[in-house]
Amino acid sequence: MIRVGIIGCGKVADKHIGQILRIQGCKIVGVCDQEELMAAQVAERFGIKSCFNDARDLLSACRPDVIHITTPPQSHYDLARQCLDAGCHVYVEKPFTLYSNEAEELVAIAEKTNKKVTVGHETQFMPVARDMRRLINDGYLGGPPVHMESIYCYDFADERYAKALLGDRQHWVRSLPGGLLHNIIDHGIGKIVEYLQGDEVTVVAHGFTSRFLETIGEHGIIDELRVIISDSKRITAYFTFSSQISPALHQFRVYGAKNSLVADHEHQTLLKVPGKTYKSYLNQFIPPFSNAKNYFDNGCRNIRRFLRKELHAESGMYFLMSLFYRSVAENTGVPIPYRDIVLTARIMENIFGQIGCQSPICAV
């Protein structure tokens, strides 16, 4: 039985607990929040016996095997380090750390102490992302990707996300080195990093404040970002973050030498774009029907998944946690390679440096 502890009892903790409770062979032994009432409300609602307002007390009293850190990112590094030092495996909500050197340090400590860490890049484990990964690994692209496009949008009309931030001048997101972008873009960057080769990449970034934010007096938040990334093997990628594109897209396109793939995370569809061409007007007749069949198949697959109760809103988190717990129980490889975690942090830091956020510019 894996003994699990939670540090940070805000909104994200509920999502974690909801998925942990679905996983066989684990048990939540304690929760912790600096604010005792927050820890108590989670413990009360989920029937968890122990709650604390100091992480040290949780670690010593409950002796958890795995800790989930669901606090604001400013505390991720210190808490993760403390948990690793206490002999725990650690699942850190995204973003992993504020700075890439902190990410490197945590990974080094984990390797040295033979403990495991992972980061909450759950969108990479949604059904559509897993389907895409399988096809790419099976060689559908005809080799490594030639180019990728990751589009990640944020909808300021969605009160769940925007009201808390825009309504609060002291919101913790504002004090992140990369501001709003820091709390979101690793979902989109992480997808690209998975298919980049090597650790050396070039990043060109352009960011600005949208007219919408300017009109409401929010001049300090950068909510539009365009990035070009290329690695040493000349695999390239565009990353787009926008709060103004409608609908709010969450797409990942991978272009190969032979075929291409388009994953739509919002609708959980994966469109195969075959490199095959047809003669004359058939090239305008056949592919549209082929695409229609492709979408029809996707719809059927989603319905089948729903009927098999595999289409949970948090199914990516469930899958990532299951893989992480398995890696802990069986001492096998972690679901997200450490190289991906560190490279994602380095690329993000580089972006923030270029667009004038507060973080130091680091050579990538």
Partner: protein
């Protein structure tokens, strides 16, 4: 209101005209009306705590229309420093700020934690004569009230929070618990007001007690039940009176209007006065059993569909009940200033103009 009447009323108030009154959530739907009524009652020193400087124009207009000293403080009740700043020297606090949304943690933070912080700040001073906490009629447990019974202040409060799956309700229950605890342990003078469904110009949707349009079509769920509505002006006056009238510390009062419409009447009037639309009547027993099925599926599927539709919520909102405002009237002398006919006319006109 006549000056003579007002002078007579003032004899029974716990605060003077020039005492400092704090209103949290002052730029909200009810908060701005509370400010308006306090000014109408002749109070001259108001402090309005607002979370954001946006959407202040209406409140600013209300303040500008009077000679009173109205101070605006921008702050967050999750910040203890902001709470201290807001509560300093206040004689009476009208606490309307609350958590809304679907997140339990979010509602808990913005309702319960915020209240705890504010009360801690209050305890640092010695001026407070009353803490008026605005709760909700939603906190009662529908399943523990028999159909047709009167829902009053003695009815049991919801205890099974995860089955009820109503984050707003949870936040309010925890807020009430904190106020009661501070009353008991620290001698905090408090009154809790639990309004029904507040409606009026500014509210841009049909009250949920009438029905829901979750599935793209309006399901009329209230049937012939009386719905516990209260017009925003009436609600604000109930809150103000509960805050200022002497001799009612430690009381909890429910606030609904006198002439409650049935759900069917309300829906018919809405269709006649705003715009017609298609709706389907779902009888309570049918909806209750659909909720039971939804709960079963939610459990079986491990939350693939969260249990937003469940029997506890169904009973709390759509079971036939009667509602009482007797205690509020007896304790505070409140009567609804706007009858349903006029109130609904103003609300429907607002809705017909596209919520402007």
């Amino acid at each position: 209101m006549l000056d003579q009447q007002m002078d007579a009323m003032r004899q029974n108030w716990i605060v003077g005209k020039s005492d400092l009154l704090l209103i949290t959530g002052a730029n909200g739907f009810i908060g701005s009306k509370v400010v308006e009524i306090l000014l109408e009652y002749g109070f001259t020193r108001l402090r309005c705590l607002v979370r954001s400087s946006r959407n202040l124009s209406e409140l600013q207009q209300i303040a500008d229309s009077s000679k009173a000293e109205v101070e605006f403080i921008q702050g967050n009740l999750l910040s203890r420093a902001d709470c201290r700043r807001a509560a300093r020297d206040a004689s009476l606090i009208f606490h309307l700020a609350a958590g809304t949304g679907k997140s339990f943690a979010g509602c808990f933070m913005d309702s319960a934690l915020a209240t705890r912080n504010l009360l801690d700040a209050v305890l640092e001073g010695t001026h407070l004569k009353r803490f008026l906490s605005v709760s909700s009629l939603a906190v009662y447990s529908g399943l523990q009230i028999r159909p047709g019974d009167i829902l009053d202040e003695k009815c049991p409060i919801e205890t099974d929070h995860m089955s009820r799956y109503d984050a707003y309700c949870y936040g309010k229950i925890k807020q009430d618990e904190i106020v009661l605890t501070y009353g008991k342990e620290h001698g905090l003078p408090y009154v809790i007001v639990r309004p029904g469904v507040v409606y009026g110009p500014g509210k841009k949707s049909i009250p949920g007690r009438v029905g829901v349009d979750t599935f793209g079509i309006f399901l009329h769920l209230g049937g012939n039940n009386k719905i516990p509505v209260i017009f925003v002006d009436n609600c604000a006056e109930a809150i103000v009176r509960s805050g200022i009238v002497d001799g009612i510390d430690g009381e909890v009062v429910n606030a609904v209007d006198d002439d409650l419409p049935t759900s069917r009447e309300f829906l018919r009037l809405y269709k006649e006065n705003v715009h017609p639309f298609f709706s389907i009547d779902i009888p309570y027993p049918v909806f209750y059993h659909l909720n039971w099925l939804w709960e079963k599926y939610s459990k079986w599927s491990e939350g693939q569909l969260p249990p937003v539709f469940n029997r506890r919520n169904c009973a709390a909102y759509y079971q036939m009940q009667r509602y009482s405002n007797r205690k509020l009237k007896e304790l505070t002398g409140w009567t609804p200033r706007v009858p349903f006919g006029e109130a609904s006319r103003r609300y429907f006109e607002f809705m017909k103009n596209g919520g402007r």
